[in-house]
Subunit: 391 residues, 2 copies
C-alpha cells in the first residue's frame, strides 16, 4: 500500500467529517435524555427505539433542559449550575462548554438559529451566545428599581429573532429584539403582576403567558401587539383559590395547547383546567389522580398524557380531548418525571427516574413497546424541537 | 504502515457510513427543489441558503412531490410517470427506484415511517412499499361498480398508520389501516360526492377534505369518527358558483390552515375564501390579484403568501391574517410556482420556473436575501415535513 493510497484514505476520512467514529446518519429521529444524577446525556433514536451512546462532562444536570441547532446536529444543554454545553449528536462529544453564570434556569435558541440565550438567577439577567462558537454576543442585566438585578425566568424565543423573558423580583416582562444585530432593542412591560415564576409561549409564537407566584392569575402578552402591554387572565388561577398544600409549583411548559383548548395543571388540586383559547376563560375542569405536573398533548390533538407530583408520581393518566375526561390510568413505575411524543405522535417516551428506565408506549395500543435502561432519567428532548417556535 | 492499521482505517471508513464522499452533517436544515424539465433535484440547505448538489436520474418530474424518512436522511420522490425514487440526501445519490405504475399522482409516508404509499391513475389504486427497500408490501386496487378500477387522488397519511385517499370515478373515500401489519383493513365511504379530484388533511390528522370536480361543495370526513361517513361542506364552493374561466383547478394542498381559519383559493375567481374551522362555514372573502393557486400560511400564523394562475403568475401577495387583507404585493419574476416556509418561519423560499431561480425572502423585512440558480424549479420541500402529519 503506497503513500498516495494512504493519503487518499486520510482525505476520505477528512471528507467524512474528520471524526472517524461518527456514523453517517440523518438526525431527524434523534433525541437526548438527561441523566439527572450522573450529569450525562443518553443519546437516543426513535426509529428503532434505542440508546446510541452516553455523553458525559456536562456538569450538574438537575432541572436541565435542551434546545437544538436548526440542522438538528447539535444540542445546547442548560444546566442548573449555569453551565451551557454544546453537544455534537453525530460525533457524540461535547464540542463547547461555558460556565456562563452561577445559577441559571433554562434557555432558548433564536428563530434563525444564530443565537443561544440563557436566563440567569445569579447574576440576574440574560446572556446571549453565538450558537456556533458559544462566544458571548450580548449581556442583558435585568436591572430594576435602584439598579438591583432581578432573577430571570420563563425565557423563550419568539418570531422576529426575539427573546421574551420575565423578571421575578421586578414583576416585568422584557422583549429583546435581535433582528438588527447583536445590540438588542429591549421593550420593557412593567407591572405585569407580582413575582412571575415561569412562562410559556404558544406554538405560533403569538401569546406569552407568565405564571405569578406573588398573586393569583396569569399575565398574558400578545406579541403581535406588545404596545398593549400585559393583561391578566384567569384571575382565580393560583394557590389563592384554595389553601391546599402544593407539593410542586407546576411548570408552565407543562401546559398543553390542543385545538381550541389550553389545558393547565391546577395549582395544589387534583384537577386539570380547560381554558378556551379564544378568550382565555376557564370552560371546565377534569378531575385527575393527583396534582398534575406536565400535561403533554399528542401531535394529533386527540389526547394528552399527564403526570403527577409526589406522592402520585408513579401514575400516568391519558385524557381524551374530545370528551374532556380521563380515558385510561397507567402505572408505569416510580418517579414519572417527563414525557415526550415522537413528532407524528405514534409513540410517547416516559422517564421513570426511580426505576432507571425510559419506557416507550405505543399511543394506539397504549402498550409498552420498549423499556430502555437509563440512569436516573429526567427530561426527554427530541430533535424536532429544532423546527418549532418556543422550544 | 501495517495490515492492521489499514484494516482499522477500512473499518473506520465503514463506520463512517461507507460513502467516503458524503459529508457528516445534520439533516434538519435540508430540502429538495424539483427541477421540472431536467428531471433532477437540487439539494438545498436553509442555514446558509445554498444549493449543495444536483441529483439526477429521477425520470419525469413534472408535478412531482416528495416526502421524507423519519430520520430526515432520505427523500421519496413521486413522479408523474409512476416512478418512485428514494434519494439519500447525505451521499447525494439515488439509492432505490421503482417504476411502480404507468401514471401516478403523489404519495405519502406512514406515521411510523415504515411504509410509502403511491396513488395511481393507471392502473387505478394504491401501491404500498417498504420504506427501507422499496419492496412491494401491499396493493390496493380501487375497484368499484362492476370491477372497474378508479383513479386514485388525494392520498395522505393519517394517525394510526392509516392512509386515506379518494376514488375519482367511484366517488368514494377509502381509509387503509396498516396498524396490524401489511394486510390493511379497508374502510370504504361511499357516495361522498361526484369526482373527488384532490384532498387535504388538517395538520392534526383529524379532518380529511376532498374537492369535487363533478359538483359544487367539498366532502369532509372526521377521521376520529369515520363511522359517520362524509358530509358536505361549503355547498357553493366550486365552479358552479359563477361560470368564470378556470385556468387551473387549485390544488387543495394549497389551502392554508392558520389559527381559527382555513383559507381556500376560490375556483375561477380573484378571491381567497376565509372559512371558520369550527363549523366549516365561509366567514369572508379577501380580494386578491389573480386566481389563487397556493396559499401558504407562515408557521407564525400571522401571514400567508399566495401565488396565482396564468397570466398573473409573476406576482405574490402577502395576506395579513389578523386584518384578513392584502398587506403587500410583490413581483418576484415569471413563473411563481411554489413557496415553502422554513420550519420556524424566518424565511420563505419561492420557485420562479421561467427565471430558473429560487428566491429566498426574509419574512420580517419582505426583502430578497438570496437568489439561487436552479433549472426550471417547481416544488420545494424541506425535511421538517418528516415530522408532520399529512406531509
Amino acid at each position: 500500500m503506497g503513500y498516495r493510497v494512504i493519503t487518499a484514505i486520510a482525505v476520505a476520512l477528512l471528507l467524512a467529517g474528520g471524526a472517524a467514529q461518527a456514523e453517517l446518519r440523518g438526525t431527524g429521529d434523534l433525541g437526548v435524555v438527561v441523566q439527572r444524577e450522573a450529569g450525562r446525556l443518553s443519546l437516543v433514536e426513535t426509529s428503532n427505539r434505542s440508546v446510541l451512546a452516553e455523553i458525559g462532562g456536562l456538569g450538574d444536570l438537575s432541572h436541565a433542559s435542551a434546545v437544538f441547532s436548526r440542522d438538528e446536529r447539535y444540542a445546547y444543554v442548560f444546566g442548573r449550575d449555569g453551565g451551557l454545553t454544546k453537544v455534537d449528536l453525530l460525533t457524540r462529544e461535547v464540542v463547547a462548554r461555558r460556565q456562563q453564570a452561577g445559577n441559571s434556569i433554562g434557555g432558548a435558541i433564536s428563530q434563525d438559529g444564530s443565537l443561544v440565550a440563557v436566563s440567569n438567577y445569579e447574576p440576574g439577567g440574560v446572556r446571549v451566545f453565538d450558537a456556533e462558537t458559544l462566544e458571548p454576543v450580548a449581556e442583558i442585566p435585568a436591572r430594576y428599581g435602584d439598579g438591583e438585578r432581578s432573577k430571570v425566568v420563563g425565557l423563550v424565543d419568539a418570531p422576529g429573532n426575539r427573546f421574551v423573558f420575565s423578571l421575578f423580583e421586578a414583576g416585568e416582562i422584557w422583549i429583546a429584539d435581535f433582528s438588527n444585530g447583536d445590540d438588542p432593542e429591549i421593550t420593557r412591560l412593567r407591572d405585569v403582576g407580582r413575582k412571575p415564576y415561569d412562562a410559556l409561549i404558544t406554538r405560533d409564537g403569538r401569546y406569552y403567558i407568565a405564571g405569578l407566584f406573588g398573586e393569583d392569575g396569569l399575565a398574558l402578552v400578545d406579541l403581535w401587539h406588545p404596545e398593549d402591554g400585559a393583561r391578566e387572565i384567569l384571575p382565580d388561577y393560583g394557590r389563592g383559590e384554595e389553601r391546599l398544600p402544593v407539593y410542586k409549583m407546576p411548570h408552565l411548559e407543562g401546559w398543553a395547547l390542543a385545538g381550541d383548548y389550553a389545558l393547565l395543571p391546577a395549582v395544589g388540586r387534583h384537577e386539570v383546567l380547560v381554558v378556551d383559547r379564544d378568550n382565555w376563560e376557564e370552560v371546565g375542569r377534569i378531575p385527575v389522580y393527583g396534582q398534575p405536573v406536565f400535561i403533554m398533548a399528542s401531535p394529533t390533538g386527540r389526547e394528552a398524557w399527564v403526570n403527577f407530583a409526589m406522592p402520585d408520581n408513579d401514575t400516568l393518566q391519558i385524557l381524551d380531548l374530545e370528551s374532556l375526561a380521563v380515558a385510561q390510568t397507567l402505572k408505569p413505575g416510580k418517579g414519572v418525571l417527563h414525557m415526550e411524543f415522537t413528532p407524528r405522535g405514534e409513540a410517547v417516551w416516559v422517564s421513570l427516574r426511580d426505576e432507571d428506565e425510559v419506557v416507550v408506549y405505543d399511543t394506539a395500543t397504549r402498550e409498552r413497546v420498549t423499556t430502555l435502561r437509563v440512569d436516573t432519567p429526567s427530561g426527554i428532548f427530541f430533535t424536532d424541537r429544532a423546527g418549532r417556535i418556543g422550544l
